[in-house]
């Protein structure tokens, strides 16, 4: 009996330990043996873990495809930058900024929290309409939201420097900061999935009508999760902005959206272990291909240009993945979450046979 009651706990905690363990190994490995380049790649990877887990929290548990999250990331990036850029830099990088914002100079943590809260607020307003939609309608609307956010950021000269590069942001994020937030992201994602809100959301994903019939307020459940998930995406934007330190609106647009969705889909949107694994795999493949592409271009060995090869190969990989394993690498049960499950299935199957006879 004690053994039986301990199993579910192992099922819940083992996936968390595995995910955190993998991230620790990568962080320690890179800090001991890594070059400046790998350090940079891994820092961005940890920021992507935060973003993808934020996306997983909504998309994986609700089953609704969202293209808008890189838009929320952009809001978080700009929002936090506006809060943290020192006043002296602001007069240079944003000369037309509104007077009350000119003097604002927050520290790193409050700045990224304000950025994340702005993204959450924006999601809260748009989510009122968006969360009433399902399937294709919701996906297309979220895509429109991404475009709207990009257009506004590219045109709002006073606040974002328009389509040009915004610079003068201080570099606060290093690899260990990003690692810390990724670890928090993993724990939050697991806690959310097992919370009653997360369970209701997963129920609505599995069967909308049944969820409604037992009294679950699906629209409200989705809305709360959407706002929370946008907050995390905004947080990732703040971390990213204070690592990259100068960027323009198009850096957080289609290309990043494609990359992030690919990470989630390849790894498995329904599981946190899968989503994290997806970030790691796509980062490795993406960076590997990019360096091959650059070396080929430099060596001049090929008679044609190699620009865009990385994207093409990634797209082909995504198509193959979707065909062979549509639920992602880890699709339903978390890695390490199936302890003892097989044995139980066998006993239940044999007891069924017994009754049929």
């Amino acid at each position: 009996m004690t053994q039986l009651s301990r199993l579910p706990l192992a099922r819940k905690t083992l996936p968390v330990i595995i995910t955190l363990g993998a991230l620790v190994v990568i962080a320690v490995g890179v800090s001991l043996f890594g070059s400046t380049v790998t350090n940079r790649i891994v820092t961005v990877m940890f920021v992507h873990v935060v973003l993808v887990l934020g996306l997983q929290l909504f998309m994986g548990n609700s089953g609704i495809l969202s293209f808008a999250h890189v838009g929320f990331m952009a809001i978080g990036a700009y929002g936090s930058a506006l809060m943290s850029i020192p006043a002296e830099n602001k007069s240079r990088s944003l000369p037309n900024l509104y007077e009350p914002l000119m003097g604002v100079e927050l520290g790193f943590l409050p700045a990224i929290l304000v950025g994340a809260a702005t993204a959450g607020l924006f999601a809260a307003i748009t989510g009122v309409a968006l969360m009433r939609l399902s399937d294709t309608a919701a996906a297309i609307s979220s895509f429109a939201l991404l475009v709207i956010i990009n257009v506004v950021l590219s045109q709002w000269n006073e606040v974002t420097n328009g389509p040009r590069t915004l610079s003068g942001i201080l570099k606060y994020t290093d690899m260990w900061t990003a690692f810390g937030w990724a670890a928090i992201g993993v724990i939050v994602a697991f806690l959310f999935k097992e919370s009653s809100l997360g369970m209701k959301l997963r129920a609505s994903r599995d069967n909308l009508h049944a969820a409604d019939a037992i009294g679950i307020n699906v629209t409200r459940t989705r809305w709360i999760s959407f706002v929370f998930s946008a907050f995390i995406a905004g947080l990732a934007g703040g971390l990213w902005a204070h690592f990259i330190t100068s960027f323009q609106p198009d850096a957080l647009y289609f290309e990043m959206t494609f990359l992030v969705l690919m990470m989630l889909v390849v790894g498995g949107p329904h599981t946190i272990t899968g989503a994290t694994l997806g970030v790691i795999i796509v980062t490795v493949v993406n960076e590997g291909l990019r360096s091959i592409e650059n070396n080929l271009a430099l060596s001049g060995a090929l008679p044609f240009k190699t620009v865009g090869m990385t994207e093409i190969v990634l797209a082909v990989v995504l198509i193959i993945m979707l065909a062979l394993r549509p639920g992602g690498i880890i699709h339903t049960v978390e890695l390490g979450g199936g302890v003892g499950r097989r044995r139980e299935l066998q006993t239940s199957a044999s007891s069924q046979k017994g009754t049929r006879r």
Binding site: S196, R202, D206, H209, A210, A213, I216, R341, S348
Partner: protein
């Protein structure tokens, strides 16, 4: 119209449902107490599922009223109706397939607004009571058809509902499974204070389980009464039971 006698009843009165010129339900009235099991029978297309859809809020009736414990609930959304105390199961089982049996049952309680710790305790208790505790961590999709049926019913009971609408719970079950279901269902009204309205084509199950029957044909009520009265009713025999009931009636 606040009728004191309907304080603890689910009632439908004069329900009419039109689908673009087709009258699926024509002036149907029905009532269900919290301690009884009523069977809703009739040939295919007679309007049984339509009536369940109207009662559970999936359809808003063209005319007529539905009350739960004296409160008018006509046309409310399914979620609101479930909060008022009426929960249904579906003709094709609708479990949460990637969630465990334990989570599925817990969600019934969570949907009704019961707190997490109490919901967990309730799910645990129900699984033990119905003898499927060993399945608690199995995912919904991995269950056999009969097990899915039971889990769906437990999920509904976990909402603490006063009225349970079961749409063909025995469909697709073998004889043994259907017998076990009969035993489990017959205890529900007394154990949980939850009345059952059940649709099924398994006459053996219906006749043994129900205290009263309500027979529909082409959207109209053609008979009401105890199983014996209904079985002896010539209109019912002609419209629905046919030769199926005749030898049984003779044997008893």
């Amino acid at each position: 119209m606040h009728d004191l006698s309907n304080r603890e009843r689910l009632t439908a009165s004069g329900v009419v449902m039109d689908f673009a010129g087709l009258r699926a339900l024509d002036d149907v009235s029905l009532s269900l107490g919290q301690h009884e099991i009523v069977g809703l029978i009739g040939p295919n297309g007679s309007g049984k599922t339509t009536l369940v859809n109207v009662l559970s809020g999936a359809l808003a009736p063209t005319a007529g009223t539905v009350t739960i414990d004296g409160e008018k609930v006509t046309g409310l959304a399914p979620r609101k109706i479930s909060h008022a105390g009426l929960v249904r199961t579906f003709q094709t089982v609708r479990l949460f397939g990637t969630l465990s049996v334990y989570e599925n049952v817990q969600l019934g309680a969570l949907g009704a607004g019961i707190r997490r710790s109490q919901a967990a305790a309730k799910a645990h208790e129900l699984l033990e009571l119905f003898g499927i505790d060993h399945l608690r961590d199995v995912l919904g999709d991995s269950l056999s058809y009969g097990q899915k049926r039971i889990v769906e019913i437990l999920r509904a009971i976990a909402t603490d509902c006063n009225y349970l609408l079961l749409d063909e719970p025995a469909a697709g079950l073998n004889e043994e499974e259907s017998d076990r279901l009969l035993g489990q269902l017959s205890n529900i009204p007394d154990q949980f204070g939850c009345g059952i309205l059940i649709i099924d084509h398994d006459m053996n199950l219906i006749m043994r389980l129900c205290q009263r029957l309500h027979v529909l044909n082409q959207g109209k009520t053609i008979a009401e009464g105890t199983p014996e009265q209904v079985r002896a009713n010539p209109t019912v025999v002609e419209a629905y039971l046919g030769s199926q009931a005749a030898p049984e009636a003779g044997a008893s």
